[in-house]
Amino acid sequence: MVSIIHSRGDRSLRDLVDLDKGIVAREIYVNEAIYQQELEQIYTRAWLFIGHESQVPNPGDFVMSRMGEEEVLLVRDRQKKLHVFLNTCRHRGMKVCRYDDGNTLIFTCPFHGWSYDTDGKLVGVPHHKAAFHEELIKDDWGLHEVAQMSNYHGSIWATWDAKAPSFEDYMGAFAPTIQWCFQSTDGEDNGVELFNPATKWRIPTNWKFPGFSFDGDSAHAAMTHRSVNVAAIGPQGDMEGGSRSGVKAPFSKTSYEMMLPELGHGGHNYMFDQPGVSDYADTWQTEPKEVDEYYRGTRVKKQAKYKDVYLHGGDGGTALIWPNVNIQPHRILIWHPHGVGVTESWRQYPVDKNAPKVVKDAQRRYMMRYGGPTGVTESDDMENWNYAFPASLGTVAQRLPYNFQMGIGHDFKDDRLPGMTFNYRIAEENQRARLRRWVEFMEAGSWDEIYPVNPKKNTDK
């Protein structure tokens, strides 16, 4: 068991997180030592979202991404193979790339000129003969590459830990959700591309405020987003009273919180009372008619593909993949830690890669007014996180725990989706699942202690 030592004496992390009672100490959100421990225990081990293969279509293409606090480069080498490298020269640490994206033959460090091929090999060392006497073994000093990388239906994930389970094992029963989120609207696998560039901005809060709450906090919408709903920013304008989301045709289903507590993933999704996909309801009233025509057409194709399939947990839902990325059909939200009290938020937006320009433009406009740093919905969320963090910093404030008791003890299983844990659509079961996994990762000496999942061990105090 890993302890933290601070002015209030030795206290284990399990003293700070009591999930049987739904009580969590504010300290885990504001303590610098705990934050540094998270970077080591979580962000060097977990599978992290890097980007999408559509961002690097050609040999030599690269795009900057992040793993925790650290910058990485997603690169397609000249043999068309994908790599993820830490963006730091092996000589003296300078960044070898200071562009968000581009195409290159080599990455050259501007400090001493060490240069690396797109496959990470060190290929150019100035004065290698005269100064190094050809004694530097270039093969030993290439760019540092991730231990494992996965291209899962176009989405790219990576981990620094060679002992991490495979990506599909890491995802467990949420793997199909990821697959569906990267399908185009007609149901074709890997049918999307990402709008470029990603929107990025920093908010003065701990990454767990948005990261652990975002998908699993249905209760906040009615209060936090009331004005956005009333303002009718959705694509249907003020049709049917307006909403921040689009119109949906009736299709018998029930929304639940769904999670995998043993793996830490969770979100909201549907269990369907009938197979297949709902009919399309015209929704893009504020855009040219071609947009609805396009989506109506893709819906027909998707209906044909899934005619007899119950899409439990897989159609229209959202998932936060432990530890910090929220995957939805039209949005990818990443909460990068950037300091105990700073989070760098990234938004990336998938769109059907074969959609005509008028459709892509409409989708882009909607996403910009909905989310991101200028989107009205996320401005509401940021206001909460911006103030919850400083309000939890004080000496007296830290004596008061947070309450995560909503729906506690009311979780259940459903044979239609084995392995998944359910709760009412408004609950805090998702957040308790993530906090449980947080304790496990923070205490573990290695992946051997946290995978394969041992249900009995996970409930032991």
């Binding site: 033959l105 501007p110 000129g113 240069s115």
Partner: protein, 81 residues
């Protein structure tokens, strides 16, 4: 191709100090190296630091002729014929 002696611009291949501006060298350009070799630019990453070259002449090591390598900016001393 300008020498840049009268005043330089971004497309110059040599600046007022007779330094070769390798960033601008096109593929196929012949260059002189510090050891006297003559080489041809086969690819230019345009980083101002490196060139990919093929050796055309080398009095110091004739076995290099026809081989390909990378050369660093400070080892490029002039333009070839």
């Amino acid at each position: 191709m300008t020498t840049g002696r009268e005043g330089s611009n971004a497309d110059d291949l040599i600046n007022v100090n007779n330094t070769v501006i390798i960033t601008n060298l096109p593929e196929g350009q012949k260059i002189r190296l510090r050891d006297g070799s003559l080489a041809e630019v086969t690819a230019n990453p345009r980083d101002g630091a490196w060139l990919f070259i093929k050796f055309l002449e080398s009095s110091e090591d004739p076995s290099l002729v026809g081989t390909e390598d990378m050369v660093f900016a400070t080892d490029v001393v002039g333009l070839g014929d």
